[in-house]
Amino acid sequence: MNTSHPIGAAPEYTQPLLYLDGVTVSFDGFRALNALSLMIAPQEMRAVIGPNGAGKTTMMDVITGKTRPDTGSVFFRGNTDLTQLDEAAIANLGIGRKFQKPTVFENQSVYDNVLLALKTDRRPAKILMAGESQNERDRIEEILGIVKLTARRHRLAGELSHGQKQWLEIGMLLAQEPQLLLVDEPVAGMTDAETDATAELLREINKTRTVVVVEHDMTFVRALDVKVTVLHEGSVLAEGSLDHVSSDTRVIEVYLGR
């Protein structure tokens, strides 16, 4: 099952890449995250599911520095506490994020979108002097190939279909060369064929990077075939294989009771 781990590695004993420790976030007294604890191992792919409002997006907001938790910490690679950093610093540490609603730079070409995401020194003075190296051009073409947008490289990103925008955003994530990818509902609004292709793409990405995917679509989660965490009212309700969690009576209650 754990195809993503090198043979012989025992993920239980390695230090987690990401460790959420008792994270609580309240909005006007309402607890979107409630003492949430979660561990993601290096090279793992994890699917996070849960009903609407369970706190999945809020969890990503906390990891990426958009939302500061009331209590709790988020450790990356052991000892870096992400709750002390801002979005840019966290991104530059190697954490990439795909939003729930596809967010690309609509007024710029598909090519430029990937260029903007390429891993470089992001300080204004450096960017001001930076051109485009041949290496970078090759890398952009490579990524455009992976997300099947080569033919549309000169189109404005705003002209892409919904599914293509999702893929462009995944391509931008790749260009960032992050160690950890957070992917929020990547197949929302996709056709079945696109959904399958996206699962395939994420599995491919997972060969070299750690991935956390939030998704509603059960066929998609099944296709990913990875460990699943069920979130409910801001904390973990169940964890394990998809078959394991979907036979859990509390999980059934949460999903059917709505």
């Binding site: 840019a88 710029q108 430029d112 903007l116 300080r123």
Partner: protein
């Protein structure tokens, strides 16, 4: 195909704009200086001063377009940077008057003598040197923009709130500069200038040189801005404008980018103000009027936001209109300006410059219709 044509048009435009500006002003200056006053083609002196003023406004519009059109910061206080640059130039020009003032004091400007001041305030030191004054024309607006931007962008003030505090900034400066004890001439401001860099400001040659200097500065900044906005840096700016949080999550420190561009833009506005003052002959607190900054926004909107060339055209067109209009119906000007803004926002969201591509597209359509009379021809074969 149409897009290709537009691309070609755009890339050529880069050189056309400075060529028109420089060629046009050179021609006008020559017609003013070389022809006798009674010649049919002679350009009178007041036209030179008027054109120079328009070009300074155009530079202000260009600076505003850089922050509003490319980074999405709608500054309603850019007039403040323009005025600060103007005051720095004004201080230099005041010190050049020397003993030719009404009171004949070799050091103190007339208004200080009038206020019974005994010595020059420390912040006037050095302004008798052009180099120092030049430094201050850039430094005063630049520093203010830097401090203001540092505080505002770091606390992530955006949109309407940011616009309102920029308005407050220029209003606060308006009130401050009205006070006599500020040492900038109070209500009357700085005026009665005699010479700049040793050249008599009343001479036609000096005026023509100032006009050409304005044209050169505008052209230079236009080319620079054009390069910058098309570079990788410029792409980051547009990214910040269109999807600020996406840019953040990609690892760009958005506030740094905003700060760099806002400060640079303020310096541009300051230099525009500096060249404006010797050409109109006065700088007073009225230049800090919030309405001035709003007017500059209208120029940019009319010309076409985010196009660089549009705001230049917009500034010149609107001010030309203003010159005509205020000659006939001065009390209605503000209504006309407001009406123009509403009209442009509703019907010409891309401004005057935006009309061009749609005109070209329609022309191409028409040509296609005329050219392809054969019924077999499929227009889909375009891609």
């Amino acid at each position: 195909m149409i897009a290709e044509k537009l691309g070609l048009f755009r890339s050529r435009l880069g050189w056309i704009v400075p060529l028109i500006i420089m060629g046009g002003t050179l021609l006008v200056a020559a017609l003013n200086l070389l022809l006798p006053p009674d010649a049919a083609l002679h350009v009178p002196g007041y036209v030179i001063a008027l054109l120079g003023k328009y070009l300074c406004y155009a530079l202000l519009a260009l600076s505003l377009d850089l922050v509003w059109g490319y980074v999405g910061i709608l500054s309603l206080g850019h007039g403040a940077f323009f005025a600060l640059g103007g005051y720095a130039m004004g201080m230099y020009l005041m010190r050049q008057i020397g003993t030719r003032g009404v009171y004949g004091n070799p050091v103190l400007p007339d208004f200080m003598v009038f206020l019974n001041w005994q010595e020059l305030p420390w912040y006037w030191y050095g302004f008798d040197h052009f180099a120092v004054a030049l430094l201050m024309m850039a430094l005063a607006p630049g520093l203010l923009a830097f401090v203001f931007g540092f505080l505002a962008f770091r606390s992530r003030v955006t949109g309407v709130y940011l616009s309102i505090i920029t308005q407050a900034l220029t209003y606060a400066l308006l009130l401050a500069f009205f006070r006599n004890d500020m040492g900038f001439g109070g209500n009357n401001g700085l005026t009665d200038f005699k010479e700049i860099l040793g050249a008599d400001l009343q001479l036609a040659g000096t005026k023509a040189c100032l006009l050409l200097a304005s044209a050169a500065l505008l052209s230079g900044f236009y080319l620079f801005c054009r390069r910058m906005t098309r570079s990788r840096f410029g792409k980051v700016l547009v990214a910040v404008r269109d999807a600020e949080s996406r840019a953040r999550f990609l690892g760009y420190r958005v506030e740094s980018y905003k700060l760099v561009v806002f400060t640079f833009s303020a310096v541009m506005a300051g230099l525009a103000g500096a060249l404006y003052v010797p050409q109109v002959g006065i700088i007073n607190p009225g230049e800090f009027d919030p309405a001035n900054s709003i007017e500059a926004v209208v120029w940019v909107a009319v010309g076409g936001r985010g196009t660089l060339v549009g705001p230049i055209i917009g500034a010149i067109l609107v001010n030309f209109g203003k010159t005509i209009f205020t000659g006939v119906l001065p009390e209605l000007w503000l209504f006309a300006l407001g009406g123009l803004f509403v009209f442009v926002t509703l019907f010409m969201p891309k401004g005057v410059v935006g009309l061009w591509p749609s005109l070209m597209a329609r022309l191409a359509q028409m040509r296609e219709r005329l050219g392809y009379q054969q019924p077999q021809h499929q227009p889909e074969a375009e891609e």
